[in-house]
């Protein structure tokens, strides 16, 4: 087992296989269930159907109905049930079918899941993983594309993570399930079918960002499906003579200030890219932290490229809503290069 800071793209290990992010998540669940009998997986349609995104495919067949099962259709019920299970020694992993359908569970998440450890001075830990397929870019109709990370990230007591590669999906889900604290595990729907190498022997500590691309002129900071947009923008900017570093935040809270600040200090310029509405967002928080901690290193204000402050767009308007490469390039261009 290796703990690595910056997983390289194709680790030269024996356990490497190319798979989709969906398959990596499925593998992580199965491996975690083998490793620990107390891991239970439940939610809506996770049994016979294998989840609407097939992330739990085959788990009921393999581990039985006691380990992976369908619940009545009630998110608050699912969440509160998980709290009780966790109180009595289980490690529940729950699936919320879509971002915007997790809201009925919000009361349980913010009032109990996030607080019980603190309230009981550590006597009751909540080792619960809340898996949430999230974000847009898939042409989904209303309520199927929300970016809900800020609601969770704003809640002390929760760890909020968001993988951008199959490797991270695997390693971070394993780490989330092993975590003694509740983890909101945001799965970018748009990336479910993206493929990449997965080394199942790689373990990842939560709370660490990852430098995906090195560069010296500007840092793009991103997470989830926006990481690819940042990388694409970086490649274009390179052809225009700018060397762009890309940091994948991975854990939104607690966030890895060290990696982010080091990158910004080295490049002097930064843009945060995320698809959630910008106001009071995780992107806003990242900009504020950078501004507070890296001010004397900055050549220009830190900018952010986010969704507009409007409800997520219907499919036909999605392309106007979502941040894209051009928007990121515009922001890079605006970083006071003349001075």
């Amino acid at each position: 087992m290796t703990l690595i800071d910056h997983p390289v793209h194709a680790p030269a290990a024996t356990n490497v296989e190319t798979m989709t992010m969906a398959a990596a998540l499925n593998r992580a669940l199965a491996d975690a269930m083998v490793a620990d009998e107390s891991v239970l997986m439940f939610g809506e349609d996770v049994g016979a159907l294998g989840g609407v995104f097939r992330i739990t495919d085959g788990l009921t067949a393999r581990f039985g109905e006691k380990r992976c099962f369908d619940t009545p259709l009630a998110e608050s019920g699912i969440m509160g049930f998980a709290v009780g299970l966790a109180m009595n020694g289980m490690r529940p992993v729950v699936e919320m079918q879509f971002d915007a359908f997790a809201y009925p569970a919000f009361e349980q998440v913010v009032s109990h899941v996030a607080k019980l450890g603190n309230r009981t001075r550590g006597a009751l830990r909540m080792p619960i993983v809340i898996r949430v397929p999230f974000g847009g870019g898939i042409g989904g109709v209303e309520h199927h594309c929300d970016s809900s990370e800020a609601y969770y990230a704003h809640t002390p007591g929760l760890t909020v993570v968001c993988p951008a590669t199959p490797q991270d999906a695997y390693s971070m889900l394993r780490a989330a399930i092993e975590s003694p604290d509740p983890v909101v595990f945001l799965e970018p729907k748009k990336l479910y079918w993206s493929k990449g190498p997965v080394d199942t022997s790689v373990r990842e500590a939560l709370g660490r960002a990852r430098t995906v691309r090195d560069g010296s002129d500007v840092t793009l900071i991103s997470y989830g499906s926006s990481v690819q947009i940042a990388l694409d923008a970086a490649a274009v900017a390179e052809t225009e003579g700018k060397s762009v570093r890309v940091v994948d935040v991975r854990t939104l809270t607690p966030c890895d200030d060290d990696t982010i600040f080091a990158a910004v200090r080295a490049t002097g310029r930064a843009v945060v890219v995320a698809e959630a509405a910008g106001f009071a967002s995780v992107a806003a928080e990242l900009v504020a932290r950078i501004q507070e901690n890296c001010f004397s290193f900055l050549e220009a204000p830190v900018l952010r490229v986010t969704g507009f402050d409007v409800p997520f767009a219907p499919p036909k308007l999605e392309k106007y809503y979502l941040p894209d490469v051009d928007r990121v390039l515009d922001a890079i261009d605006a970083l006071g290069w003349e001075s």
Partner: protein, 369 residues
């Protein structure tokens, strides 16, 4: 409760009278049109003209009855699956499908049509229905509210809160549960341990009735009674219609993973259309000529719908900002100007085919303001 069985034979009921032949003929026409609409929409999904369509094929008797028992002042609170009910209530098929085509989050004016926006988050609309009905009472309006949901939705907290509110405030609401036996892949047995969903009414202090959901006469009779009670100040009631979802949850769902083909086939025998046709023709209220006239009517509707959906719709990007607040705040003006600038630059770039392009001014201004 059943009035007409699978063979078209009638069964008298002490409490519920058979609706008039005139109403049943209207219901039958709506059934056939509704079936055509469902099947046309499923085809439009395959052709990429609709993002998604949750078909109510097999459930048309519920859809039709829910709309036919209402008067003009009444309201309908539908879910994503209730397109046929909405259309039968007077919304045009194209307007009803705007949501599923993906151009906007709802395609009709609820106040004008007295049809609430189709609800996707389950059971949430039931509380809205109760609130609206209570407002109608406060305002002295003669309005009954028909609130629809599925069997799965009865597990949500909002369902229970809605029933409780409705009973406590004695509002004129009919909760109409279309029990089609599945919530995506989850069968009713995993949803509830109650003897029936209609039983749930008891605990809240309102009447509950279970009805054969594929018998449009019976569904109408039961809903008629519930609507009448609500209108007369008798408060809310719960009606559970037992029906079956003949097709997958949506086109994105694979129902072979969770149910046997034989089970689906068995329900073909209980089709709501065949039995009503058999009944009406035995009663001398329906003929073969009527069949062809109705088939032509359904075909005209379907082909108009095809034409409408085959037209490319022009979506307006400014719509993103237009309706978020009653009047557009300055920050959304700025965001729209930024997007407009982007779009103009893209258009100019595409027009000239030139490389590069793109000023950075507006981006800078937006971020600094």
């Amino acid at each position: 409760m059943q009035l007409i069985d699978e063979t078209g034979t009638t069964h008298a009921d002490d409490t519920y009278a058979m609706p008039s032949n005139e109403r049943l003929v209207a219901a039958y026409r709506a059934l056939v049109n509704g079936r055509r609409l469902n099947d046309q929409c499923s085809a439009l999904v395959r052709q990429g003209r609709l993002a998604v369509y949750p078909s109510s094929h097999g459930q048309e008797a519920c859809q039709v009855a829910a709309s036919l028992v209402l008067s003009e002042n009444d309201w309908l609170f539908p879910t994503y699956r209730d397109t046929v009910a909405i259309v039968n209530r007077g919304v045009t098929p194209e307007e009803a499908l705007v949501l599923l085509r993906g151009d906007w989050h709802s395609g009709y004016d609820p106040k004008h049509t007295r049809v609430a926006p189709q609800a996707t988050p389950l059971a949430t609309q039931l509380l809205h229905a109760v609130g609206l009905a209570h407002a109608a009472t406060l305002r002295g309006e003669d309005t009954v509210v028909m609130a629809l949901c599925g069997d799965g939705a009865t597990s949500e907290g909002d369902f229970h809160e809605a029933l409780n509110f409705a009973a406590v405030f004695m509002v004129p609401v009919v909760f109409f549960v279309q029990n089609n036996e599945f919530a995506i892949s989850v069968p009713l047995a995993k949803q509830t341990h109650a003897p029936s969903l209609a039983h749930k009414a008891i605990g809240y202090g309102m009447p509950g009735q279970r009805v054969d959901g594929n018998d449009v006469a019976a569904v109408m009779a039961v809903l008629d009674e519930a609507v009448e009670r609500a209108r007369g100040g008798g408060g809310p009631s719960l009606v559970e219609a037992h029906t079956y979802r003949m097709q997958a949850h949506t086109n994105a769902d694979d129902d072979t993973r969770y149910r046997e083909r034989d089970e689906v086939k068995a329900w073909v025998e209980r089709d709501p259309l065949t039995r009503m046709r058999a009944y009406l023709s035995a009663a001398g209220a329906w003929s073969a000529e009527d069949d062809s006239a109705l088939a032509a009517e359904a075909e005209t509707m379907a082909s108009a719908l095809r034409d409408a959906l085959n037209r490319e719709v022009e979506v307006d990007p400014e719509d993103l900002f237009r309706y978020v607040y009653a009047s557009r705040p300055a920050h959304l003006d700025r965001q729209w100007n930024k997007l407009k600038d982007e779009l103009e630059r893209t258009a100019a770039f595409e027009a000239t085919g030139a490389a590069g392009g793109g000023t950075t001014e507006s981006g800078t201004k937006e971020q600094k303001s």
